[in-house]
Point group: none
């Protein structure tokens, strides 16, 4: 049986992702976790701290995965396709926390927005590094790595927003295939500049 802290984390993830940070009360969380309020504050300094720790967790997951990818040094097209698939799978597996990270953080309040931009900057850096390498290797002819990240990351975000989060039971295979097609389109454009 899961511990009180784990149950609190699970409940928080689910409720934050469903109802949003503000509309989720500590009361909601402890009730759903079946523990007392005192217990909540034994494990977490505050509601905000819990939220931020979820964000941190998700961020570290994505970063780790992305760094692993970088080490493989795949050709860019393969890398972009493979990573897109892994990313979508990952996001789907961690839907709740991912929703918080990708779409709640920016829109909730000033502090969270800043946190978002800090975390995202890190991820963009990693992606930029990957693209830069391909530019150096002459794999593509459009050489603005930052803007390539805009195209690629914007596309992935859109897929997540429109398919993974919007639909109750997303057809992940279809989303992955959309991702693959999209990246191919993109890559052709990058090569033929």
């Amino acid at each position: 049986m899961s511990s009180a802290k784990e149950r609190l984390l699970e409940s928080a993830k689910r409720l934050f992702s469903q109802k949003g940070y503000y509309a989720t009360s500590v009361e909601d969380i402890v009730e759903s976790a079946g523990v007392s309020k005192g217990t909540f504050y034994f494990y977490f300094k505050s509601k905000e701290e819990l939220f931020k720790s979820l964000v941190e967790e998700m961020h570290l997951n994505i970063v780790k995965r992305l760094e692993n990818f970088l080490e493989k040094e795949l050709p860019l097209e393969d890398a972009l396709i493979e990573y897109a698939k892994v990313f979508l799978e990952d996001i789907y597996q961690n839907r709740h926390i991912a929703q918080i990270f990708l779409f709640q953080l920016v829109g909730t309040n000033e502090e969270f927005r800043e946190l978002y931009y800090t975390k995202i900057a890190h991820l963009r850096e990693l992606l930029t590094k990957m693209v830069d390498r391909a530019i150096q290797k002459g794999e593509i002819n459009y050489k603005n790595a930052e803007n390539i990240v805009n195209l690629y990351a914007g596309f992935l975000r859109m897929l997540v927003l429109e398919y993974v989060f919007r639909e109750k039971e997303p057809d992940l295979e279809r989303v992955k295939s959309l991702a693959q097609e999209g990246v191919k389109v993109l890559f052709r454009g990058l090569k033929n500049a």
Copy 2:
């Protein structure tokens, strides 16, 4: 001199976009507008209703602009580039309310998220129509209009998120040129499928 209602609307836009829906209190809004609480409720049924009316306003603006574009029947590449520029200009001019529409709605609570998806669906439809026309005319060879919308709209969203909203004083000309470059890359990819 501006009327009480106008001042309330301006204050609300600014504060919602800065601090977010929940972190902005009616107190904040009326204080910033220099009117009493009673006046707020004389003009708006509730904080929520005011928020939603701002969203509606922005939505109608974007739809109108997009419909105008559709009527022009430009070649797709030109249309995508021109619309991107107009869109970015527009979003910049209406930064506050646009921030609310594009990034707060999804992340705030369940009701707002549903509202977001409803509004966005409408915009995606219009874009899809534009792309479909180009497919019929043989302008491009990748024929999944929906996915092209994912690529294009995702890219624009990312530009807004990373440049227009992130930076205090965004260099709009640079963003537009990134947009133009990105669309060209994309279009090449679409043509050479």
Copy 3:
């Protein structure tokens, strides 16, 4: 066509009697009367003053009617029966304002309760006088006039509460006949002490 003041009075009577003093807002009243708030305060100093003036009006009505009855110097039984009928008819005709007078005044707040007791004391006095006369004339053998008023007035109040006010469309003839029967029962008891 009725004047603004009359329409305000009518609306106030109806709304106060239906929803109660506190649950009826000045807004409700002016809306239902089709006039502006300014007009309300042109004719009435305050919501409370309007309410009290309605109470005063009803009180004067009942007092006048009762005094007329006293002058007739009927035998007690006839007087009690006749007055009961007239009273019920009257209350029915002025249902709204009567509801306010008889049942809202006591239960609403301290000030109104005191007002109620003052007004009611006056009515009880008149009734006591009527009964005293009958005692002096030897018409009845139970000689506690105050308690007779308790029996009689309590009975009438109960009829009003249970039949005139409770039912949407009260059968007034039936209520009057209940009143007549009840008074006869009462009178027999008074005579045979």
Copy 4:
């Protein structure tokens, strides 16, 4: 020492009965009880719910008492006299909550009025049963049980209104003796029909 909940209930009873439902604020109640606002809402869902629970409590008290009386199967005159005494004693002991039940409920708003009629209907039924039995046994000759209840209950209500609630320190013995006399008068009337 009494618990926070008990103190809240006591304060609420007293204040509601003195100032009325609307004129008593939650602030008033918690201040008088010496607890915080949060504590109020820890124990009661709302001001209205607390009010209704007081009503329910009083209603159950009266019903229980009345049912006990019914079981005794006393001759009607004795029953009416004995019950009147017990009722007055009871009402006096629970003055505050009784005032709420008997005189505030009807006059406050629509919802409470309906609640009043529901509760009172129950009490009238029990009394009617008691009277019906006496009619069947031939104890009285006036056979309209419902109207007898009107006479009896109206009389008791009037005693409560005029003596128990009106006076700061009511002379309960005198009220009980008025009740006894009144019932005797009534009973003679009923017998000699």
